[in-house]
């Protein structure tokens, strides 16, 4: 009851000095707002990336060109050959279920006057299997197509929709970068697979892509699917062995390829986010200190300004402890108000940015909201202590005479 009354009094006082209260809280609002919006964006991005990884599956291993071991610098020397895919599968039949070689290109696809540009993926029949990505109409690329350098393509869901609308696409002929391809199928609607918007992608046989379309000798990457997720380490050993042998890498020499698993990506991701986190929390720390100084300043002014009031309160029966409490509660209210407004502002800011850019995912973890408020309360109490002690130590006789 007593504390409630003191709180009401404090709120009342703060409302009377609305502009000043707002200015005092500004530091905390900005600090907390910055933290909340940054954390929201960071967490959103992390979640988005993780989701994409997870859509790839824990049993997948990605093999890229070039080594990534030496001081985190990628030496992008191309080395992966289409034969590597077959060899890996052949040499590790009990570990590996499938291997899909990939060559990523891009191009213009035309069907009469309709024209879209997008990703062109050269791969094999394993791609659909590994990614659990199936054809909706028609059929997928077969080993025969791959062997025969066939000019056939499978359209992503959105590509088919753009070019053909409601009409069946299978059996039609489209031109990709000027070359005629026979559409053999349309993929199901999938959205994103990893970091690729597969609905906008056109799939052609790997041989066609490398030999007849882009004139390339090396793959972009290999996607390996293990028999099960817990055999991933054994698979990595198998892949290393096969590739080092076929690439004729001597013992002691560095790999000319690099192997990634979902866990490794996650590890790297968490390293990056940790780094961002440290930067963020440092900024947050600084702005909170600034906020605290702001509140302390205002509280000191308030104590001086209300010297007489303090004298009166003591004269009518307030203990020094009551005076201390009054100013501490006031400082805490200012600070927590700032904290709450900061959370709202930060949240709104993050969501605005997300809406505005259409790219960012936003996720505000409840714990950060809670922590912000706790931090604000702590800041309020810490910045209020000194002014409150000053107020409580005032000599009532002097205070009553204070002009």
């Amino acid at each position: 009851m007593f504390h409630l009354r003191i709180m009401m009094m404090a709120l009342h006082g703060l409302r009377q000095n609305l502009v000043r209260t707002m200015l005092a809280t500004l530091g905390v609002i900005i600090g907390v707002g910055a933290v909340v919006s940054a954390v929201s964006i960071l967490q959103g991005a992390e979640r988005d990336i993780l989701e994409r990884f997870e859509s790839l599956g824990a049993d997948q291993i990605l093999v890229f060109n070039g080594s990534q071991k030496r001081s985190h610098r990628t030496t992008r020397k191309s080395s992966l050959l289409p034969e590597d895919a077959e060899q890996i599968l052949e040499e590790n039949p009990d570990l590996i279920r499938a291997v899909a070689p990939q060559f990523n290109g891009g191009g213009q696809t035309k069907y009469y006057e309709k024209n879209i540009s997008g990703a062109v993926l050269g791969t094999t029949e394993s791609y659909a299997l590994i990614n659990n990505y199936v054809v909706e109409h028609g059929r997928f690329i077969t080993p025969q197509h791959v062997r025969g350098y066939s000019m056939v393509c499978v359209l992503g869901y959105r590509v088919a929709e753009e070019l053909f609308g409601a009409l069946p696409a299978a059996g039609k002929t489209v031109k990709i970068n000027g070359k005629s391809f026979n559409v053999i199928g349309v993929m199901e609607e999938k959205g994103a697979l990893g970091f690729v918007e597969v609905d906008n992608q056109i799939i052609i046989p790997i041989t066609t892509a490398m030999g007849r379309m882009f004139g390339a000798s090396y793959l972009t990457m290999l996607v390996v699917q293990c028999q099960s997720a817990n055999r991933v380490p054994a698979c990595i050993d198998g892949i290393n062995k096969t590739l080092r042998t076929s690439h004729r890498i001597r013992a002691g020499q560095e790999d000319d390829f690099s192997v990634f698993t979902q866990d490794q990506f996650k590890e790297q991701l968490s390293q990056v986010t940790r780094l961002f986190g440290i930067v963020l929390y440092s900024i947050a720390g600084i702005s909170i200190v600034v906020g605290a100084i702001g509140i302390m300043n205002i509280m000191l002014v308030s104590v001086t300004e209300r010297t007489r009031e303090i004298g009166v309160r003591i004269a009518v029966g307030a203990r020094r402890f009551d005076i201390l409490k009054q100013f501490l509660i006031e400082a805490s209210i200012i600070s927590m108000l700032g904290g709450a407004l900061g959370v709202v502002c930060g949240w709104a800011m993050a969501n605005f940015l997300s809406e505005f850019t259409q790219v960012l995912e936003v996720y505000t973890p409840p714990i950060i909201v809670f922590l912000s408020l706790v931090m604000a309360a702590v800041v309020g109490i810490l910045s209020g202590i000194y002014p409150a002690i000053r107020a409580a130590r005032l000599d009532p006789v002097q205070s009553l005479r204070y002009e």
Binding site: I6, H12, R308, V312, R319
Partner: protein
């Protein structure tokens, strides 16, 4: 009610020690109406602050209702101030941002009993300001502010009401209204101690104490006869002082009539 014996209070101001109180003995009995007069710096305010448990004497003993206040801690002193003492100040000392009613209710906040607006309202009614409960001090006249301050002082029904120049900032007519409230409270049995340097106000009490240089130099009971006497003396002194002043003024250059100046 309050007994003080051999009270001393010293302040250090720079290198000199000021004896604000220099051996004061005083016994305030319940139900008394005392006025405390004296020139500024005579120690009357210091005495009042000590009686109000706002200040402690350097030496000497003060007992409030038989208990020595110098032995009390902040909590106990605060309780006495809250429950048994009411303060009225020359400059009202109201909290400007809140209403009259909330000002009156301030002591109740520290009483720690269940809080009731009725109690505050009753005190406001007592000083005849019930209708202005919602007004803020800035919307009221000086007399009204002082009445709010009195209501605040009596809201906890104290035993002792201490007033420091309560009419000092008011015109004569308003001052008289305020004094009437004190008389009413006194006739209801409240003990009142009023600090003033206005002799007309001081003689309205039933006991008048005069201080000078930290000592009590006169302590008289006042009845109608004595009141007349004091006022007459005061008026004579006042008239004499006025005459002296006027004569001094005439002698000074600026007030000398032009004719006289020409002669000299």
């Amino acid at each position: 009610m309050i007994k003080a014996a051999q009270l001393h209070k010293e302040y250090r101001m720079g290198d000199t020690v000021v004896h604000a109180l220099d051996g004061v003995d005083l016994h305030v009995r319940p139900g008394e109406f005392i006025s405390l007069t004296g020139a500024s710096g005579s120690g009357k305010s210091t005495l009042m602050h000590i009686f109000g448990c706002l200040d402690q004497p350097t030496s000497g003993v003060v007992a409030f209702q038989g208990e020595q206040i110098s032995h009390m801690n902040d909590k106990q002193l605060a309780r006495i101030r809250n429950q048994h003492i009411g303060f009225v100040f020359q400059t009202f000392n109201l909290i400007n941002r809140t209403s009259a009613l909330e000002n009156v209710a301030v002591p109740l906040v520290y009483t720690r009993r269940s809080f009731s607006k009725k109690t505050a309202m009753a005190a406001l009614d007592r000083v005849g300001l019930g209708a202005r409960a919602k007004h803020k001090p800035s919307e009221m006249s000086g007399g009204e502010c002082q009445r709010v301050a009195i209501a605040r002082a009596i809201v906890n029904k104290p035993l002792l009401l201490l007033a420091d120049e309560p009419t000092g900032n008011l015109d004569t007519r308003t001052g008289r209204q305020i004094m009437q409230i004190f008389h009413d409270l006194h006739s209801d049995g409240m003990t009142i101690m009023l600090v003033t340097h206005e002799i007309d106000v001081a003689v309205q009490a039933e006991r008048m104490i005069q201080m000078s240089d930290g000592k009590i130099i006169e302590d008289t009971a006042i009845d109608d006869e004595r009141r007349e006497e004091i006022l007459n003396v005061a008026h004579d002194e006042h008239a004499k002082a006025f005459r002296d002043k006027a004569q001094r003024g005439l002698r000074s250059k600026s007030l000398t009539p032009p004719a006289e100046r020409a002669e000299s």
